[in-house]
């Protein structure tokens, strides 16, 4: 075990995988001589060669499209979208192409592609460096979407994404990069895609979250334990598609109370799918209505500190208060 932060865990895992398999190539904007704007690949162009660490033109659709071609001809491309906010020009390549190549060819072709995209807000990124994009893509059959919240999960899920025979959108919440540290098991630690994880065990209510908000929830749960003796179970979704409904439902059936917390705009977000799953399959195990907390339905996160705070924390201790109300309901 060694303690590290999320960005370092991603860097170390990706580095190890590249060192072990020369089919893996990294391509994206500024990933070469700059080493990536988040410094994931510093020095790799020299270490692995320009053929494997490819500075692409500033064209997201083209870079994903080129990566799809590579994936169809024996390589294992890891495409880096500099910020998830800039992935939209590649929507067609991801949704119409990558996600459908296996299906449309009746299983004859495959597209083992990883797309890494730093996402999420709370880092003064404003409208175009803060977006949550998971809901657009988790809706698409043929595509897997994961978002780790801890260093161990980041390393383990990235290895699974690279090994996966299908396209995986690997979302990295920027606020976790350096703010979240934790232990990463030694060796080739792997976390299977499609598995949620109970990050904190509890009996009184179940809180389901992912990404940076998971840590807000963990903080609130600890304070509720200290202040009120309320025991909150925290389920980290980790994988939005496929969604591990069993882990979520097992916990909810046991605690009989569920709260879902996510950063993305509330309406039509991933939380809606999780809430619907609970409502459909565990309705009669519930002692109280399900609570859903998402980001405000404004077009994006504003820049000014006060405005950004309103998005990330619309009111002080929002999650804490909702957990408390739910526990007492």
């Amino acid at each position: 075990m060694s303690s590290t932060n999320v960005v370092t865990a991603i860097r170390d895992a990706l580095h190890d995988e590249m060192a072990n398999d020369d089919r893996i190539v990294l391509l994206g904007e500024d990933v070469g001589s700059r080493g990536g704007v988040f410094r994931i690949s510093v020095g790799w162009m020299e270490e692995f060669g320009e053929e494997r660490v490819i500075d692409t033109p500033l064209a997201e659709s083209g870079l994903v499209g080129v990566a799809i071609g590579m994936a169809m001809h024996g390589l294992l491309p890891v495409a880096e979208i500099q910020f998830a906010d800039f992935i939209h020009p590649a929507f067609d390549q991801i949704v119409s192409e990558a996600a459908r190549i296996r299906y449309r060819s009746n299983g004859a072709f495959a597209c083992p592609l990883v797309i890494r995209a730093p996402c999420g807000g709370g880092i003064h990124g404003a409208l175009y460096h803060s977006q949550s994009i998971e809901a657009y893509y988790a809706h698409v059959p043929g595509l897997k979407v994961v978002m780790p919240s801890t260093p161990a999960d980041a390393a383990g899920l990235l290895r699974s994404a690279i090994a996966d025979p299908d396209p995986v959108l690997f979302l990295e919440h920027k606020k976790t990069y350096r703010a979240v540290t934790g232990e990463v098991p030694d060796g080739r630690h792997v976390v299977p895609i499609g598995t949620a994880d109970v990050k904190r065990q509890g009996d009184d209510l179940t809180c389901i979250s992912y990404g940076y908000t998971l840590h807000t929830c963990l903080d609130a749960a600890q304070r509720l334990q200290d202040d009120e003796g309320i025991s909150v179970e925290i389920v980290d979704v980790r994988s939005l598609a496929p969604l591990d409904t069993e882990t979520i439902l097992d916990s909810v059936r046991r605690t009989s109370r569920a709260i879902v917390v996510y950063e993305d705009n509330r309406t039509y977000g991933a939380g809606a799918e999780i809430v619907a799953t609970i409502a459909e399959q565990a309705m009669f195990d519930l002692d109280a209505p399900i609570v859903r907390i998402g980001g405000p339905d404004i077009p994006a996160m504003p820049f000014a500190t006060a405005l950004e705070h309103l998005y990330m924390e619309p009111e002080p201790d929002q999650v804490y208060r909702h957990m408390l109300e739910l526990a007492r309901a």
Binding site: R23, V25, E51, T56, P57, A59, S61, G62, L63, V64, G65, V66, A67, I68, G69, M70, A71, M72, H73, G74, L75, L76, P77, P89, D92, Q93, S96, E97, R100, I101, R102, Y103, R104, S105, N106, G107, A108, F109, A110, C111, P112, P141, G142, K144, A163, P165, D166
Partner: protein, 347 residues
């Protein structure tokens, strides 16, 4: 500026008489197959077909410079003659038209003419325009990375050249000097929109200058001119000199698809004028002139090809439809046999 490649006699291009007879048969097969498919559509047995009529020479000519079993094909939906030249059979094409379970492109999932054939190295395609162009560049990158002696051919219409993906794919290929040939089958219309409203240049090939590789214009109705240009581009690609953009000036004689009525946007005299350069007739005349076939031989060829197509059509019609439940399969990998964890375009 782009250069123009003129036609040469087949002998000067290194083509044997038998090569030319085979090319002639392919052009004729594509034409008669189109006609048969359209009849099936009008009879209500084929919901949708995409005629290649008019494009046969540029497809067969450029295809003939490719090596089957080695090179990779990235076609678009109008490439019926091309995929025949790549090795697909009329039977396989009719399996697609009738959406049968054994359709090699998609098992009846996609509209017809959305080609894919793993064993032949024909890459699966979609309907959005020009999305295959970056794929071609990526495959060519992988070929170069893996030190393979293969070349990628990528075909599209003039309409595709307006798409961002087209630009991004050519730009990437130019930067890395990739072994890929971009072939524009310019029939002067993106469905109904004439070239004058698509671009402010006369030749698509001029755009190659912006990507740092040669652009070549050829008469797309002349199978030998197309073959000649493709051969030079193929040599360049294998020599590590990078991509070429070939613009084949041609014409589409029928509607965009079986659902299109081109009378709403093209004057009839323009179509009739274009038919004077019908690639099938141009090639047929060349065959007669060079004593590669005589009138009787031409009649026998037509009878033979027609019989082949009728037989393929009838057999494909009888082939099993997909099982309804199979629609749920192949969303993700099912087993090791379902594609590969690391896919290859050829086994």
């Amino acid at each position: 500026m782009s250069t123009r490649v003129a036609s040469s006699p087949h002998g000067a291009l290194g083509l044997s008489d038998d090569d030319l007879r085979s090319m002639h048969r392919l052009v004729l097969t594509a034409r008669l197959l189109d006609e048969a498919a359209l009849r099936q559509n009008r009879m209500g047995r084929a919901p949708f077909v995409v005629p290649a009529e008019g494009h046969e020479a540029c497809q067969v000519g450029t295809a003939w410079a490719m090596r089957k079993g080695v090179d990779i094909w990235v076609p678009y939906y109008r490439d019926g003659a091309l995929v025949l030249a790549a090795g697909m059979t009329p039977y396989e094409i009719f399996l697609g038209i009738f959406a049968k379970a054994s359709d090699p492109s998609s098992g009846g999932r996609q509209m017809p003419s959305h080609w894919g054939h793993r064993e032949l190295g024909i890459i699966t395609g979609s309907s959005p325009i020009a999305t295959q162009v970056p794929h071609a560049a990526g495959i060519a990158y992988a070929i170069k990375y893996r030190n393979e002696d293969a070349v990628v051919g990528c075909w599209f219409g003039d309409g595709a050249t307006s798409e961002g993906d087209w630009h991004e794919g050519l730009n990437f290929a130019g930067i890395h000097k990739l072994p890929v040939i971009f072939v524009c089958e310019n029939n002067r219309y993106a469905i109904s929109v004439p070239q004058s409203k698509q671009m402010a240049v006369k030749d698509v090939a001029d755009r190659a200058a912006g990507y740092g590789f040669p652009g070549v214009v050829v008469d797309g109705n002349d199978v030998l001119a197309c073959y000649g240009a493709m051969t030079q581009a193929h040599d360049r690609a294998r020599a590590g000199e990078g991509p070429t953009l070939i613009e084949c000036k041609t014409y589409r004689f029928l509607g965009h698809t079986s659902d299109d009525d081109d009378k709403t946007y093209r004057p009839r005299d323009e179509v009739e004028q274009a038919r004077l350069q019908d690639p099938l007739h141009v090639l047929g005349a060349y065959m007669l002139e060079h004593h590669l076939i005589d009138e009787r031989g031409a009649d026998e060829l037509r009878t033979s090809v027609k019989a082949e197509i009728d037989e393929a059509l009838a057999a494909a019609w009888e082939a099993p439809d997909p099982e309804p439940g199979s629609a749920m399969r192949h969303v993700f990998a099912e087993a090791e046999s379902d594609g590969d964890p690391v896919s290859e375009t050829r086994p």
